[in-house]
């Protein structure tokens, strides 16, 4: 796959109390963001484990965006702080394994911040385009079937 026609696949884990609502609001406000982001709703970002991120990379995701509540604003008190630690831990594992640690990022968004969410998604996609396709992505498209909508 050449870099000119490369479209990165971004998995966005969004907390249902804030960033998922922000993504919903972005739709209501008719803000556009690229279609190569897959939004996954989670009950809280504290539910996310390091295994989830590692499996997503193994299956061929180019990048992961974890969108949690603002610090101090988590519905479950400290779920976003746990997620922040886990994202940091995953970055360490990725760099140990030989993959770029910039492929995973955590952001904090409130339910009203639709525009910052779209900006963060665009910024992350630009970063992924600069990094190039994930070397773990299979050249056979049928093996990346799980990542299709």
């Amino acid at each position: 796959m050449t870099n000119e026609n490369y479209e990165p696949l971004l998995i966005a884990f969004c907390c249902q109390y804030c960033s998922y609502s922000a993504a919903d609001l972005a739709g209501s406000m008719r803000l556009q963001y690229p279609p190569n982001v897959r939004i996954i709703r989670t009950p809280c970002t504290g539910r996310l484990e390091v295994e989830f991120f590692m499996k997503a990379f193994e299956k061929g995701a180019d990048g992961i965006l974890v969108a949690g509540c603002l610090e101090g604003g988590c519905h479950f008190t400290e779920g976003n702080l746990l997620a922040k630690g886990r994202v940091g831990y995953t970055r360490k594992f990725l760099s140990e394994s030989g993959l770029e640690e910039e492929r995973i990022r955590m952001i904090n968004i409130s339910a009203a911040q639709a525009r910052p969410l779209v900006d963060h998604i665009n910024e992350m996609l630009d970063t992924l385009k600069n990094l190039g396709p994930s070397p773990l992505k299979s050249t056979n498209p049928s093996q990346n079937a799980e990542m299709r909508l």
């Binding site: 295994e51 030989g98 993959l99």
Partner: protein
């Protein structure tokens, strides 16, 4: 209790170079508590090894298994039962991985008849004297 520390992935890759089939075997007791070799850590390390092997063209074939309690023969055997169905090669690997360096005699087992009885007998003797 045994205290363990996780090895770094490059160190693991160096150790495993030249091998193709790898079984990551975790345990649900001491190493789970110290966050070094429980079910979660086995899964993370297996993923990291798979990623490293694909990036470095090492073609590792990584299997994962976490047993409930490796220092208990009864529970260990139960954990391995599922693995035994897969094939003779796996059975041999599990037997070697699970039994090496572990206590597999029943003489220490607290539920064994006579083990606690003897202690109680000695306690009674001490009290009476």
């Amino acid at each position: 209790m045994i205290v363990a520390q996780r090895k770094k992935i490059p160190e693991l890759v160096d150790i495993l170079k030249g091998h193709k089939k790898i079984l990551l075997l975790g345990c649900g007791t001491c190493v789970t508590v110290c966050l070094a070799g429980g079910e979660r850590e086995v899964s993370i390390n297996a993923s990291a090894l798979r990623i490293a092997s694909r990036l470095k063209n090492l073609a590792f074939e990584v299997e994962e298994l976490t047993i409930e309690r490796q220092c208990d023969q009864e529970k260990r055997c139960r954990s391995f039962t599922g693995m035994r169905r897969r094939g003779p090669g796996d059975r041999r690997a599990v037997r070697q991985a699970g039994l090496r360096g572990t206590r597999h005699g029943l003489h220490w087992h607290p539920r064994r008849a006579g083990h606690l009885d003897g202690k109680m007998h000695r306690l009674r003797q001490m009290r009476s004297t």
